[in-house]
């Protein structure tokens, strides 16, 4: 069920927003996770999970966050999750990458199922090293399960890898590379200086 905010709620949200710049992720958590009880008390409909993502659902985002963190891990600089790589991909899936919606919907579910069937744990619940081992299998095209008989897990990995790198290194205007983190990492001045 969709939840539509009342005018009063929207006014309240705008006050919050003006006091603090939220990332899409923080905002999603704010209105869905119950951190802001004040909002929730205004409408019981908020008990239903509202996805503020454009195409992906919370489950898919959670897997994608973990994958993004594997492709570009955190070290002395933030990794793919902090850089909002998942937001980049979600945004593109409703614009330039519409044609990949079906790859993601089918692929993410099948990926999670392959992992869960083997270990009774979700991908994101595994240790970093275990997750890496899963992705290495996927990169080699060795994921098992019904879905992967018809689809190449190797190709899906390559798609994810490319999209994560685009989200991390592309312009923030596409939804990733939060605060130009990758440019800072490479020691490039930003904005591109016109002198």
């Amino acid at each position: 069920m969709n939840h539509y905010f009342t005018k009063f709620e929207l006014a309240l949200i705008s006050i919050f927003m003006s006091a603090h710049t939220f990332t899409r992720r923080e905002f999603a958590r704010l209105v869905t996770g119950g951190t802001a009880a004040v909002l929730i008390s205004f409408n019981t409909a908020c008990k239903n999970k509202i996805s503020l993502w454009r195409y992906l659902n919370e489950e898919e985002i959670s897997i994608l966050d973990a994958i993004a963190e594997q492709i570009i891990p955190t070290d002395d600089f933030p990794g793919g999750k902090w850089a909002n790589v998942s937001n980049f991909i979600d945004k593109q899936l409703t614009s330039y990458y519409k044609s990949h919606q079906v790859d993601y919907r089918g692929g993410m579910a099948a990926f999670q199922k392959s992992v869960f069937d083997g270990s009774k744990k979700k991908f994101e619940e595994h240790s970093f090293a275990e997750q890496k081992a899963v992705l290495e299998k996927m990169e080699a095209g060795e994921l098992t399960g019904e879905y992967w008989k018809e689809h190449s897990s190797k190709s899906f990995f390559e798609l994810l890898r490319q999209h994560c790198l685009q989200g991390f290194y592309g312009s923030p205007l596409h939804g990733g590379n939060r605060e130009y983190v990758s440019y800072r990492m490479l020691g490039l001045d930003y904005p591109n200086i016109i002198y």
Binding site: Q162, Q166, Y169, S171, N192
Partner: protein, 550 residues
Amino acid sequence: MANKHVNAIVIGAGAGGGVVAKELSMAGLTVVLMERGRWQTFDEHGDDELTSQRTFPLKCGYGPDNGRNWRMAPDGIGGWTRVFPNDWRYGNNAACVGSGTVSYGAMAWRFQPVDFQLKTKYGSIPGTTLEDWPLTYDELEPYYEKAEYELGVAGDPTTDPFVPPRKHPYPMPAFSYNREGMILEKAARNLGLHPFPIPMLRNSVPYNGRPACIHMRTCVGYACPVNAKAGTQNTVIPVALKTGNCELRINCMVSEILIDEKGRAKGIKYFDSENKLHEQTSDLVVLSASATETARLLLNSKSKLFPNGAGNNQGWVGKNLQDHAYTGAYGLFEGEVYDDVGPGACIAVNDFNHRFPDIVGGGVLCNEFIRMPYQFAGIRPNGSRMWGIEHKAFQKKNFKRHIAIHGPVQEMPTFDRKVEIDPAVKDFWGIPVLRIGGMRHENDINVAHFLSDKAEKWLKEAGAISTWKSIPGRESGASQHQAGTCRMGNDPKTSVTNKFGQLHEIDNVFIADGSLHVNNGGYNPVLTILSLGFWVGNHIASQWKGTKMK
């Protein structure tokens, strides 16, 4: 309302078409310049790498758009698959006013005199259609000079003993070397090579009312924010429009050249910005839509006298597709070599063109344009892990500690490397689309090995602590350097136009773009396309005075 009859229709407002439109309208002809794209500016795109014309995973910012344009490419298992402009296999050239000259790297090479006489130099090469141009370097030289002066080229050939002969210096002084360039210059001299600054269609000093370069790191693949880079959109096209004789019609897709019962062109059919079909009549038609789209237009213009497409009764339209098999090497250095002075490419050597008895052809070697962060994520020695902590460590360590040296291999033309019309697939407007196919000749790969070896030696001499080569495969396409599909020649049986770009079979249809190239040289081709624009335009204008093309 019917369009008013004009003297000339020029199709495609890129390098060739922009120049021809200017030459004809200055000579007093009424001209309609047709362009499928629109005006583009830096501000629309900024420094966005993902929609640049260099790396374009999301879209080609300067066109064409994925929504209405597609082609067919080999699917790897014997069939064909649909590809879109932001797929490498499509072989796109920008679709906007100025076309590639808005977002190019702007290297301003003249071909070597011998490039016009390859068959004379090398004889017949098996498996190729190698031929001399019907045009000599000396005939084209004044038009090279015209292109250099009217658009504006900065360069200094004094340290290049292999420079093609020229009567006058470049109109602007050369750019100085960036940090990479200085490192490479010393190394080249140690090796006995002859380094020199790359000539550029970019202002080193204010020129023609446009300011000097501000050294953006995003240059190739992007418009210039201050118009220091010369394209036809900020030079010859505005001059053409100012004559009052030239109308630029943008967002218009030409679908067909109309041929009358006597076998002459009477005009074109095109779709306007609202996809309505129109006719435009004219006394003559000039095609300058790029080597792929010019051939497509001819092949799609079928009539009683030309059942296989206009000017194609000998079956040579679309054949001899050439490009450049880019090759070279990368080197990693101990210390930083990056100084953020764009566009990066600044130094070249001409030592490896036509000077080695065992090598057919060759190519110029240059340091590469700046590799932006996403592009750099794909640059690794073979066998490297392309993700994870290894990926990130490599990015951090080497972004400012690597140099790339690349060069365009002069490809051999073959009859089987070609564009043709797909029998079934049509684009958004219902116009039959192209198939692009064929393999590179083995000589191209031999030369690539030769050149990449030289590039690697240069990097090692410069102090690289590790190096690796980049060698192209035989799978081919048609990048922005596409050429050769309507080549000029003296024999109507083995060429499409005469030496003036005039179709052998239809005397009021001309071509002025890379399609004419009998061979594509070992250099970026744009200055040659621009000069052919002046050459063809000048010929039409001089003929017009006597005959009016009647």
